[in-house]
């Protein structure tokens, strides 16, 4: 079994494919990347090879700011499997500069009871194998 750092949370990892690779590996260069239509500028998430606003196929992966706002959240207390450490914060983050896109993520690096709707957050990538998971930390 692969050696895991003591503080690394056990996570299911995504299977990488042509659609999602840039999202899940952008963190290698410190970039949060989303698909965007180059004709009407709509962001497309989950990533797909066509724009859901104008049906353009000129869809490309672009870097966004990597900051955002907690739209809503929950503190999970249930151990869904034995290896799980609880409690932890699951949040839906509205991304700056990418209207209409939300990421489900974890807010890390702060007490679980300190997270609230409206908190400003910044991406913090966590690498596991070839995947760079976009977690978020509170700003300030």
């Amino acid at each position: 079994m692969k050696k895991v750092e003591a503080m690394t949370v056990s996570r299911a990892l995504p299977r990488l494919d042509a659609d999602n690779r840039s999202f899940w590996t952008g963190g290698k260069d410190g970039q949060l990347r989303l698909m965007q239509c180059q004709d009407c500028r709509t962001f497309i998430h989950p990533p797909r090879p066509v724009c859901r606003s104008c049906l353009s196929e000129r869809v490309e992966s672009v870097a966004v700011a990597g900051t955002g706002v907690v739209d809503t959240f929950t503190v999970n207390h249930q151990k869904w499997h034995k290896a799980m450490e609880v409690p932890y914060v699951i949040a839906r983050v509205a991304l700056d500069g990418a209207p209409g896109v939300f990421l489900t993520t974890n807010i890390v690096g702060c007490p679980v009871d300190s997270v609230d709707v409206g908190d400003r957050v910044r991406v913090k990538f966590e690498q596991q194998d070839d995947v760079f998971l976009p977690l978020f930390e509170k700003i300030g």
């Binding site: 299911a12 995504p14 989950p46 999970n76 249930q78 699951i90 489900t104």
Partner: protein, 386 residues
Amino acid sequence: MAAAEAYITGVGQSAVGAGQTRHPLLLTLDATREALDEAGLTIAQIDGVSTYPGRAQGYLGFSPVGADELIDALGIRATWYAGGSEISSQLGAVVAAAAAVRAGLARHVLCFRTVYEAAALARPEEYPPLRRERVDGQAQWFAPFNATSPANWTAQYAMRHVKRYGLTREQLAQIALTARANAMLNPRALVRQPLTMDEYLAGRMISTPLCVYDCDRFTDASTVLIVSAGAALDEVRCQPVRIAAMAGTVERHSWDQAEWMASYPTGRDLWKRTDYRVEDVDTVQLYDGFSFFVLTWLEALGFCDVGSGGRFVEGGKRIARDGELPLNTFGGQIGAGRLHGFGFAHEAVVQLRGRAGERQIGGDPRVAVCTSGGGPLATALLLARD
């Protein structure tokens, strides 16, 4: 009776329990027999089958029986059938059946939902849990963040109600308290112990603001609804209940990209397709896989304004069995067990026929709303006894 309309005729249900050993196909047969008996039909008169989500190969406890399998097992001669998960939640199977009988593709469609989740959990050697090296599809956006349970997804919508609209735990508690009180009067209910407000408030947190009592419970059971064509009602021997309106939507097919849960557009659409109004409804049977869904359905269907669901149910009197809008009178999934959507339509029909026994509501009910889903997928049916 209108020949061009669709009716629910027979309804049936197997024993409901956790860890049943009776074969899931036989549980489905039990429910089928009861429904046929009630409708005065024989299996030879069934010419259509509809189910959700079909046989779930990788997760058999969730759905152990498929439509094609049932057709073969019971010797049904089907002129139309359908089963699958890509439809607007569980009662979407009833919508499909109603559309089929209205189009003349079948006369009597057997709609079923069989669940075996508790049995599968108890017998993992027989029903091995799904194992994957890596996740894909929708799961990839949630599983890496350990946000794998629908409890987590629903909790975030519920938290938005807490923060935006001031929803309190005491208000939310009324859904579980009502369900558990009603389940006491349902001989088939899975949980038949009362729940108090103090117990609720002390309940173990699952995913804030949802505690253990806000969640439904795995069960093993089958529920059957027979949908018949108006033109075929001369063949049945029961009080038919008309499907007066139907609605179903999908919102981004996603638990995090949609601003609103699918219950909201579904509720609005329902009233565009009928002359009945909200005030005409005698009872509501609203999906409660998690208690919070019920509040969104009450708002979505226009019983109260968006954001005021908590205040609407406060104190519990209004939604009690003897209140102005009796809710989930069989116990919902929280009290009666996770029948997965079909239990709500079953109970609506039983109440409209006045056959609910000890839990029968008063006032000669004629109109009911039943729903399934409420997250990215939602279905609502308006049922009327003419």
